[in-house]
């Protein structure tokens, strides 16, 4: 109350009418109140997303970090602190290096195969000819098929006496036992996954290609640039934001591959197709080592985080015309 009484002479001294002077503080308060109200509504709008991220991303991440320092015997229902034992196991586990190697091979193969094929398909389908919608739908359709159903069908096709070798036999070729031999097993898993998701990146590329202004490519053509030069020096730089997006999505997705390995090879032959997520699953859910499984999950998190940061930083060098 004293504050209001103290303010009154100052307002009057400023030459303003008492009515006007008395109105300024309430206006400020109203602005503040309105602003607070707007803020609250804003918070409420983002609340579902924030709660979702807290409950399904941040909390599990915190729990994984916590479990990483513990060993949890699910059957005996015991939970004990083991300090850095799981981290030490990570560095002494002879399987970690081959598992990371298999993960790298899978990811590199998938990224090159998926993005390369998606770009080729998008370029081929970026034209106005009769029936083009059919082909676009055809190449996109595997994306909407159930992943496990898709993988099981491919599992039958890739058997030693399966459809692929049957086709090869018709032209006199004795096909390999695709899922039972080291190199062909990894190649098979990569190819199955490339065909499954190539349609999604194809559509993104197609959309980006259709956003390239025709006048730019026409101008280049008038200036004497060939098709390869136009594609390499004009089209690719113009769609580079989409290339960045698809690269990040594909790399992150490739590091999380699980169902295809579980259905097609169960990590074999040997451990040649045991990628990090599958190894993590084995340790946590099959061998009941939830603590060590959590440590492996942290490794996966750090790898994904680092790769995303690196790509995000590199975008400054190779991404153009980013909005």
């Amino acid at each position: 109350m004293s504050g209001v009484l103290d303010e009154a002479p100052v307002v009057l001294a400023a030459g303003a009418s008492p009515r006007a002077g008395a109105g300024r503080p309430p206006e400020k308060r109203r602005r503040r109140r309105l602003s607070r109200g707007d803020t609250l509504i804003g918070y409420l709008f983002v609340a579902p997303q924030v709660i979702g991220i807290l409950a399904f991303v941040i909390l599990p991440l915190a729990l994984i970090l916590y479990y990483n320092f513990h060993e949890w015997n699910v059957l005996a229902n015991t939970f004990r602190f083991v300090g850095t034992e799981n981290v030490e196991r990570l560095f002494s586990d002879p399987k970690v290096a081959p598992v990371l190697g298999a993960t790298a091979v899978f990811s590199i193969g998938l990224v090159i195969g998926n993005l390369g094929l998606a770009l080729v398909l998008a370029v081929l389908l970026n034209r106005k000819v009769r029936g083009i919608t059919f082909f676009r739908t055809l190449f996109f359709s595997p994306v909407v098929v159930s992943l496990v159903a898709w993988t099981i069908v491919w599992g039958f096709l890739l058997q030693d006496d399966g459809g692929i070798n049957g086709l090869l036999a018709m032209i006199g070729v004795d096909g390999p036992n695709w899922l039972r031999e080291g190199p062909t097993a990894m190649i098979s898993v990569i190819v199955v996954q490339v065909f499954k998701n190539v349609g999604l990146n194809m559509i993104l590329f197609l959309s980006a290609l259709q956003g390239v202004p025709k006048e730019v490519t026409e101008a280049a053509s008038i200036d004497g640039a060939g098709k390869a030069a136009i594609f390499g020096r004009i089209t690719l730089p113009l769609i580079s934001p989409t290339i960045l997006l698809t690269t990040i999505i594909t790399i992150v997705g490739s590091l999380q591959v699980f169902a295809q390995i579980a259905v097609l090879t169960q990590g074999g032959p040997g451990i040649s197709t045991t990628v990090l997520v599958y190894y993590l699953f084995q340790q946590a859910f099959e061998f009941h080592r939830f603590g060590y499984g959590s440590t492996l999950a942290l490794v996966l998190f750090v790898i994904v985080l680092l790769l995303t940061i690196v790509q995000w930083q590199l975008r400054k060098r190779w991404v153009f015309y980013e909005n």
């Binding site: 949890w72 699910v74 059957l75 030693d160 036992n177 039972r180 169960q266 859910f285 099959e286 939830f290």
Partner: protein, 428 residues
């Protein structure tokens, strides 16, 4: 403003209700109705109907039990799903357990001992349980941690239609002439394959990954995967090398056994012989095979032998109602219900291990077949291999044996590698 306040109030109420609803999920009180859940790996409607019939009879005398649910899980990932339910704080009250996971469940204290409940149940006749059948399910202290509700022997089914089409003697003729052994079976299988393009013999469910099913073969060579105390790997022992040499020869040289990555189903008429459990006899009905024979496992170099698969039923210590669960198991497996369950699961009660009891439950099989093949196998069979840390050992051996299933494999070297891989696990 008004709407903002209302929204805020709604959010606070929603959050509070979430918190309070979470807090209200405390343990059951004594007066609360008991809901029991049993995880099983069958989704066979007739079997589930029988379980529900037994459960209804139990609930009639136990009004405090509001429901008994049988929860079918996928067989291939059964143990993984069960342990995930335990880890997720959603343990079943009772669970079927496979013999290969028995040591882990029994030794960890995950199961409630059943002895007191079973022995105090009127008319249970605990002494009637076959001692060899319960061995795997006892703790170090001798407590019965799970009831062996199914003791199913491995046998050979022969497709006489296919043998006749290939111009080969029937299985019964082979047995009568004293030639029922693995070498003859493989030779005839190779001739069937050459004549018809179909498979000679199959070890069902092995599929070049579930290697423990091969115990139905290597036992004939007197081989075991590890020593009796479970501490030493014996995959590299000469008798095991000989057994795997036989299998490798069958798959890659004689072609009497389908190679890796090749599918063949005996019950679709794709093979002359299959090694499988007796419970698969029900598949013969729709197989299209008109003439078939049931035989014991063929003799190996070490003579005749038999192998059994087991399934246990236990009450989970982490379940909400372990005592009530143990009580229901006592009812589920009492003499009367055990006889009903024998329709699908060969019992561990010695009084019910007779050809006449089993033939009533297995109309596909004759009393002679049951008396000559099934009963002797149950009473004298060796249980499929099991060990603590079974999942990791299973994975390591599978991974190691992948090197053996190629045409130019170094069999002894590969089996030595298997021992290098599992040796440290066995010592734990």
């Amino acid at each position: 403003m008004k709407s903002a306040k209302m929204l805020s109030a709604a959010a606070v109420i929603a959050a509070a209700s979430l918190v309070f609803s979470g807090c209200s999920g405390s343990g059951p009180s004594a007066d609360e109705p008991v809901a029991l859940r049993m995880t099983v790996w069958t989704s066979n409607e007739a079997q589930l109907a029988l379980f529900n019939e037994i459960a209804d009879a139990y609930r009639a005398d136990h009004p405090e039990v509001s429901s008994i649910t049988f929860d079918p899980l996928d067989f291939d990932s059964y143990t993984t799903t069960l342990t995930t339910q335990l880890a997720g704080g959603n343990p079943p009250d009772m669970a079927w357990l496979l013999e290969n996971s028995a040591p882990d469940f029994v030794s960890s204290g995950a199961l409630v001992p059943l002895d007191d409940t079973l022995s105090s149940t009127e008319g249970y006749q605990l002494d009637d349980l076959s001692e060899p059948a319960t061995q795997l399910w006892r703790t170090e202290d001798g407590d019965l941690a799970a009831y062996p509700f199914s003791t199913s022997p491995f046998v050979v089914f022969a497709n006489d239609d296919l043998l006749a089409a290939a111009g080969q003697p029937t299985a019964a003729e082979l047995e009568a002439s004293g030639q029922w052994n693995w070498n003859t079976l493989s030779d005839i299988g190779a001739k069937v394959n050459a004549a018809t393009g179909k498979a000679g013999f199959i070890v069902r469910d092995f599929e070049y990954t579930q290697w423990d099913y091969l115990s139905t073969v290597w036992n004939g060579w007197g081989a075991t995967p590890w020593s009796a105390d479970g501490k030493t790997c014996t995959f590299d022992a000469p008798e095991m090398v000989d057994a795997f040499t036989f299998l490798h020869d069958a798959a890659f040289t004689k072609k009497s056994m389908p190679g890796p990555g090749t599918t063949a189903d005996f019950f679709a008429g794709d093979a002359a012989f299959t090694v499988t459990q007796i419970s698969r006899a029900s598949l013969l009905k729709d197989s299209g095979i008109t003439s078939w024979e049931l035989l014991p496992l063929p003799a190996g170099p070490e003579g005749e032998y038999s192998v059994i698969g087991q399934a246990g039923l236990g009450a989970l210590a982490q379940g909400k109602h372990p005592e009530q669960a143990a009580d229901f198991i006592a009812f589920f497996t009492n003499p009367e219900n055990s006889a009903k369950l024998a329709t699908y699961f060969p019992p561990a009660r010695t009084s019910q291990l007779t050809a006449s009891t089993l033939s009533a439950a297995n109309p596909v099989l004759t009393e002679t077949q049951l008396a000559d093949v099934v009963v002797p196998a149950i009473t004298s069979g060796t249980v499929r291999p099991s060990h603590t840390g079974a999942a990791e050992i299973q994975q390591e051996v599978r991974s190691g044996l992948d090197g053996l299933w190629v045409a130019d494999a170094d069999i002894a070297g590969t089996l030595g590698g298997v021992c290098d891989a599992i040796g440290p696990l066995l010592e734990q």
